[in-house]
């Protein structure tokens, strides 16, 4: 029996059916824990109480959604460890992304958590300028940024009275695509450990940094890394849901590749006849 060449719409219909089924009927797929994710988790766990962690970078919200799985779990861990965070957005949508993760993690007092704005966490405004913004922030935070996102002078915020420059930053978490800027101006120039909750497509691009700066740079791998971090912290979320549907989708993807090759080999004789 010859397999016909499938049209794109047929393939899209099959993929859509797979997603509808996996989104409505969770299969609870299990996955293995990675050593790197455990290392990151233990690094955050070992930070002394009151340590200041910066969360920031530059990219687009939709791409960064993949990092939100790890970041939301990490925020809960940092709340549990009584760490303090400063969100430093260098992208136009980064302010919205940071707010989304903070709200979703429920760490703020107004959402049932323990963190108080200005004391435990601060949201800086968008800082344009690319590399210049990172360098200015590392040199002197209060000169680089005068107010927080709401217009409150930084000197009026208790947390920012203690955080003045790069020497007061204990770690930097990047849940955005542009991790190379963090490596260049935060890790390499200022010796601040960098954690990257990488998008899967970005992991392959930036993994050389993990090899070039061992013990200073760590990376998780996409939604799978997010699911692992959620499992470590015990807060199932987007990462766990995605890994579930990916379990079936991966087989479907490979299945279509095999089907395409079978179709090609079946039609090979006809193609050779046409060529002749």
């Amino acid at each position: 029996m010859k397999i016909p060449e499938l049209s794109s719409r047929t393939i899209w219909a099959v993929v859509m059916i797979v997603y509808i089924v996996t989104c409505t009927i969770p299969i609870g797929a299990s996955f293995e824990m990675s050593d790197i994710t455990i290392e990151i988790y233990e690094f955050i766990d070992d930070l002394p109480e009151g340590s200041v962690v910066f969360i920031g970078g530059s990219a687009v919200f939709a791409f960064d959604l993949e990092s939100s799985a790890s970041l939301i779990a990490c925020l809960k861990q940092m709340e549990r460890k009584n760490l303090r965070i400063v969100c430093a957005p260098f992208g136009v949508e980064a302010v919205q992304f940071h707010k989304y993760c903070i709200d979703a993690s429920g760490v703020m007092e107004s959402r049932g958590g323990t963190w108080v704005y200005g004391v435990d966490y601060v949201q800086l405004p968008y800082m344009p300028g690319g590399a210049a913004a990172y360098v200015a922030l590392m040199d002197d935070i209060h000169t680089a940024v005068a107010t927080d996102v709401a217009g409150t002078p930084l000197n009026d915020l208790p947390l920012m009275q203690e955080v003045l420059n790069h020497e007061d930053i204990d770690a930097w978490i990047c849940p955005h695509w542009a991790f190379d800027m963090i490596v260049r101006y935060v890790v390499a120039e200022r010796d601040i450990p960098g954690i990257y909750f990488a998008q899967a497509a970005a992991y392959a691009n930036y993994v050389p940094y993990m090899m070039a700066y061992p013990g200073m740079v760590w990376m998780t791998n996409g939604f799978l890394g997010g699911a692992q971090y959620e499992k470590l912290e015990g807060v199932p979320g987007l990462g766990t849901a995605v890994v579930d549907s990916y379990a079936i989708m991966s087989v479907v993807y490979v299945g279509f590749i095999i089907l395409g090759n079978i179709t090609m080999y079946q039609n090979r004789d006809e193609e050779e006849e046409i060529i002749q």
């Binding site: 996102v149 791998n221 995605v242």
Partner: protein, 210 residues
């Protein structure tokens, strides 16, 4: 149970508009496309207004009157949209290019070049140390990096006695890049699959309550 939150309905409408492209070009998709463009542009302006208030607060309060210079330069930079007066924008752009290039030059040398070369040398020293899997890994790293560099820097073959051995090195580099591209595409499948899951699960879960 179907949601009664109007924002969930807006979100569902946007998702359907976007996915309607799978059926074909249609007015729903155009509606979604123009909505996206409009909000991206408008959000940039809203962020810009908020950022201006933050960045020029010291000028307004009188703490730093020197900021009048970047204010004027910034206003000059807007002239880039008019072809006839675009030359006015070349002065602030020159400052941005100068600062950006200086900063990237010092960073590129340290992080992209020197640290990677140091890593290759370090890994070359570890090839004969440790378990076989790790040794193989280090060997692959060193060989693929060097051959990949050869392929990128000497893509076009040169005449001479070294051409044949170097062509083998270039060929290895080509296969090194093929493996990199194949692995990164395979890894990226997870990303897009996850985003589709997020969109569809929001449609089915939040909107339809399934």
């Amino acid at each position: 149970m179907i949601s009664t939150d109007p924002w969930v309905w807006v979100s569902a409408l946007m998702t359907i508009c976007s996915f309607s492209l799978l059926y074909g070009e249609n007015p729903l998709f155009r509606f979604g496309e123009y909505t996206y463009t409009a909000i991206v542009v408008a959000h940039s302006v809203v962020t810009g207004i908020s950022t201006l208030q933050s960045r020029f607060a010291p000028l307004i309060s009188g703490a730093k009157p020197l900021l009048i210079i970047p204010l004027i330069l910034g206003l000059m930079s807007i002239f880039v949209v008019w072809r006839r007066y675009a030359w006015i924008a070349s002065f602030p752009i020159a400052i941005m290019i100068g600062v950006g290039t200086g900063l990237s030059m010092r960073a590129l040398i340290a992080t992209e070049i020197l640290s990677n070369i140091a890593a290759v040398i370090r890994e070359a020293g570890l090839i004969l140390v440790g378990p076989p899997v790790n040794s193989l890994g280090y060997l692959i790293r060193v060989v693929f990096t060097i051959s990949g560099l050869f392929y990128l820097l000497f893509t076009v073959g040169h005449k001479g006695p070294l051409n044949k051995p170097l062509s083998y090195l270039r060929e290895i580099g080509k296969y090194a890049f093929l493996s990199y591209l194949g692995l990164s595409v395979g890894n990226a499948i997870m990303q897009h699959s996850g985003l589709a899951t997020s969109a569809i699960s929001r449609l089915l879960g939040q909107w339809l309550g399934l």
